[in-house]
């Protein structure tokens, strides 16, 4: 997979979640995503950016345009040095939350993306990567 461009955004304040959404929207539009696909990845990024700020104690988002031979996609990586997730499977289940919310963040982001990857250990932070290929 070739990385054609990369942009990094620091995520520390709740307002940064809005900036993240706008950044991802810009990236998706530039890549020529249709409106529904744009909305899906922007929404997924909002969920993950919020997690990073609220549960991860702040971190960053990296937005990359990637190419795999003949197709292009938008890849987002959210990283934090926060408490980490003890049970990833449980966290991916809808309705699960330790923070009083509905807990749809991770599961929702996964459903809205073509590819989803998460690595997290208690005490070692969390890294979530999602990818959406440019569709028809």
């Amino acid at each position: 997979m070739l990385v054609q461009s990369s942009e990094r955004l620091e995520l520390h304040a709740p307002e940064d979640v809005v900036i993240a959404r706008q950044t991802v929207r810009r990236g998706a539009v530039a890549l020529g995503f249709n409106l529904v696909d744009q909305t899906k990845i922007v929404t997924a990024s909002s969920e993950l950016a919020r997690n990073t700020v609220i549960y991860g104690g702040g971190g960053a988002m990296v937005m990359e345009v990637v190419k795999n031979g003949y197709r292009a996609g938008l890849r987002l990586t959210f990283e934090d040095q926060g408490p980490g997730i003890a049970n990833i499977d449980l966290a991916l289940k809808d309705g699960y939350t330790t923070g009083g919310g509905l807990g749809l963040g991770l599961g929702g982001a996964k459903r809205l993306s073509d590819e989803f990857n998460i690595s997290s250990e208690p005490g070692q932070g969390t890294r979530v990567t999602i990818l959406r290929w440019k569709g028809l």
Binding site: M1, L2, V36, K67, N68, G69, Y70, R71, L136
Partner: protein, 286 residues
């Protein structure tokens, strides 16, 4: 990783190799126009340059490593354009495989020790085989994408939304409902709801051959999306077998109004929309 003389041989015999490879392609391939011939020659030039860069690292065993990214990217694009251009998979893979012959000629000329020659031939073969296979796979994926796109366009045409009356839409579904089709269906339906300002949508599944859990989920998603836009859905065309399947699957359709026929659904829709159908007053009898 055992050393290979390929980098050095490529560098020293570059121009001859390129010329001989282009000649082999021209003699083996299908008949092409002079313009295509020129394009192929340029592609060959570009590929050989990328190949030369990639082997410099010394790794000719694993083409998935980072130093081969540029080569793979090039082959991916080549396969995609050949797929679009109507070339067969073989014609596309020949681009890489024909290079073997050219390289063997160079090897035979430059490597005189028999065991070394055999070794180098083996390394070159495995390398080009990997690249050739990659080309074929990329071609396949590219062709699949083209097919999917064509299907999608056909789907758009085959999911019309019909305006039955003020405020009432009908969506007759024909054929199966997979996830990509559902996207198209949802988009068409929601856009129709907006443009006709309808409150009720009748989704008729008479033409849907089988309803399994996935199809049921897709239907429910469509209903949910319409509801978010303020429109209620009625599902009609539920055949007895489908009714049984739905119960057996444990799909919860309690939130949705369902009717056996489109006519029944239309009747309910009219009532909900505040209309009643009455016969025209009879003329007084003669």
């Amino acid at each position: 990783m055992s050393a290979t003389r390929l980098p050095e041989l490529l560098a020293n015999n570059y121009d001859d190799l390129l010329a001989s490879w282009i000649a082999i392609q021209q003699s083996q391939g299908r008949r092409v126009s002079p313009a295509e011939e020129k394009a192929h020659a340029n592609e060959s030039r570009e590929f050989l340059a990328l190949l030369r860069q990639a082997v410099e690292n010394g790794n000719v065993k694993d083409v998935n490593r980072a130093e081969w990214d540029g080569v793979r990217d090039f082959l991916g694009n080549l396969s995609a354009s050949r797929a679009k251009g109507g070339y067969t998979p073989s014609q596309t893979a020949t681009f890489v495989f024909s290079l073997k012959q050219a390289i063997f000629e160079v090897l035979r000329k430059e490597v005189t020790e028999p065991r070394e020659l055999a070794d180098e031939i083996w390394k070159a073969t495995t390398l080009l085989d990997q690249l050739g296979l990659y080309t074929t796979e990329a071609y396949q994926k590219s062709r699949d994408e083209i097919l999917v796109r064509q299907q999608h366009e056909l789907l758009e045409l085959s999911t019309p939304v019909v305006r039955l009356w003020d405020n009432i839409l009908a969506l007759p579904l024909i054929g199966t409902l997979d996830s990509s089709r559902t996207q198209v269906v949802m988009q068409n339906l929601l856009e129709a709801i907006v443009s006709t300002r309808s409150d009720i949508a009748i989704i008729d599944i008479t033409g849907v051959p089988a309803v399994d859990t996935l199809v049921a989920q897709h239907l429910l998603k469509t209903v949910a999306a319409a509801r978010l836009m303020g429109a209620d859905c009625i599902i009609s065309g539920i055949r007895p077998q489908i009714a049984q399947t739905i119960i057996h699957l444990g799909v919860d359709l309690s939130e949705v109004t369902t009717k056996a026929t489109l006519a029944d659904a239309f009747s309910i829709a009219l009532r909900r929309a505040g209309y009643a159908v009455a016969p025209l007053a009879k003329k007084s009898s003669d």
